[in-house]
Amino acid sequence: MSVLIDLLLAILTVYLALQCLLAQRLSQSVFLFFAFGLALALAWVRLGAVDVAITEAAIAAGFMGVLFLDALRDFSPAVSENQEDLKAVQNPPSKNATKSLLLPRLALGLGLGLFLLIALEAVWKTPDGGGLTAAAVALLPESGVEHPVTAVLLNFRAYDTWLEIGVILLGLLAIYAAGGINLYRKPGVAAKDPLLRQVILFSTPVLFLFGAFLLYFGKTGPGGAFQAAVLWGAIGIMLHLGGWPVFAVLPRWLGQLILTLGLGFFLVLGFLFMARGDALFEYPPAYAGILILIVETLAAISIAAALTTIYANINQMQEEPKQNESTT
């Protein structure tokens, strides 16, 4: 029975991915991407990787979906008055364009094929004992947390996690580079709908609580900084859409401080214990639990702020040309 479910899920995931790529209209692609993200999250749950499933559902389907929806709105016929732009986006490229695209397509196909081969080889070589799980579980008492995934992410391989936080910040910097540095922009069009505003106000404390729960729960089970950060980032994005730009009221230095707090504290902590002769990102076992909680909280705040700012900037960047138009 469970094999049947797994098989169905596998077929569904691949089918949705294919449909997402092959869909005729942009809107279809975006919504199929949502469905694909959810199917993938379910697949991760079936594989027993609940941490990955939450992250997949929250970041890949949730946050990326919001960005895609925002991009979609700029191409939708209701907003865009330039119909030719719209046609160029929605119609497949003409015959001439296909010819020039042949080489990139070939390269992409070869690259993906190679990647698939590497992935197959990795699957083939997976040890029967579950890889390094036993080693991670054996060192769990020293890590300060009770969940092996959190122990690996924030203690044993903290360097990787630190880099991941840096990548998000780099993404934000890239957006600044493309759109001009403006720490946090005010929304051009705020939602006027009273019901929407009430629902946003209602969900804010709920999301905050749930994010805090995920953050704290990461100590003993699936959850942690990134999952909490997406929920808190969702608060920021919803408040932004509802016309309460939370970061816009903060002074510039405070916003920058919040954005870099997680990365900075993580780094300082990592080097602090090097002075005692420990390795990079090695915490003393006695304080590891509380240190990890602090690092996770600060990282979650920073990531949430970064996600909100990314959304606010992208949302604004594409809206600027239409600014002189009447704002409804």
Binding site: A78, D193, L195, L196, V199, F202, S203, V206
Partner: protein, 102 residues
């Protein structure tokens, strides 16, 4: 014990029926408003039945409470989304009619 399992199965089946009906409605109904109706109303009812069935099956009060709250939040989100989409479509329809693709 036996009766509880039977009730669980019945609740799950009823939930699946409503999901099926909702999906059929989305596929077959002619315009956006009736499709929204099928999607949000029938599916939420189906989800409610499935949540009730699962809550009964799990039997731990905390887990049951969590499942019920999932249902409540889905209700809130989907009814709000339904309203927003319908309002958007209505505003779209006002300037020019018959724009809705089949």
């Amino acid at each position: 014990m036996m009766i509880k399992e039977v009730i669980t199965v019945i609740l799950l089946l009823v939930g699946c029926f409503f999901f099926l009906a909702g999906t059929l409605g989305v596929l077959r109904f002619p315009d956006l408003f009736s499709r929204l109706h099928a999607l949000t109303k029938a599916d939420n009812l189906g989800l409610g039945f499935i949540a009730a069935g699962m809550a009964l099956h799990i039997a731990s009060p905390w887990a049951a409470l969590k499942i019920i709250s999932i249902w409540l939040f889905t209700l809130l989100a989907s009814s709000t989304t339904c309203y927003l989409i319908a309002r958007f479509q209505k505003e779209q329809d006002q300037p020019k009619n018959g724009k809705e693709p089949g």
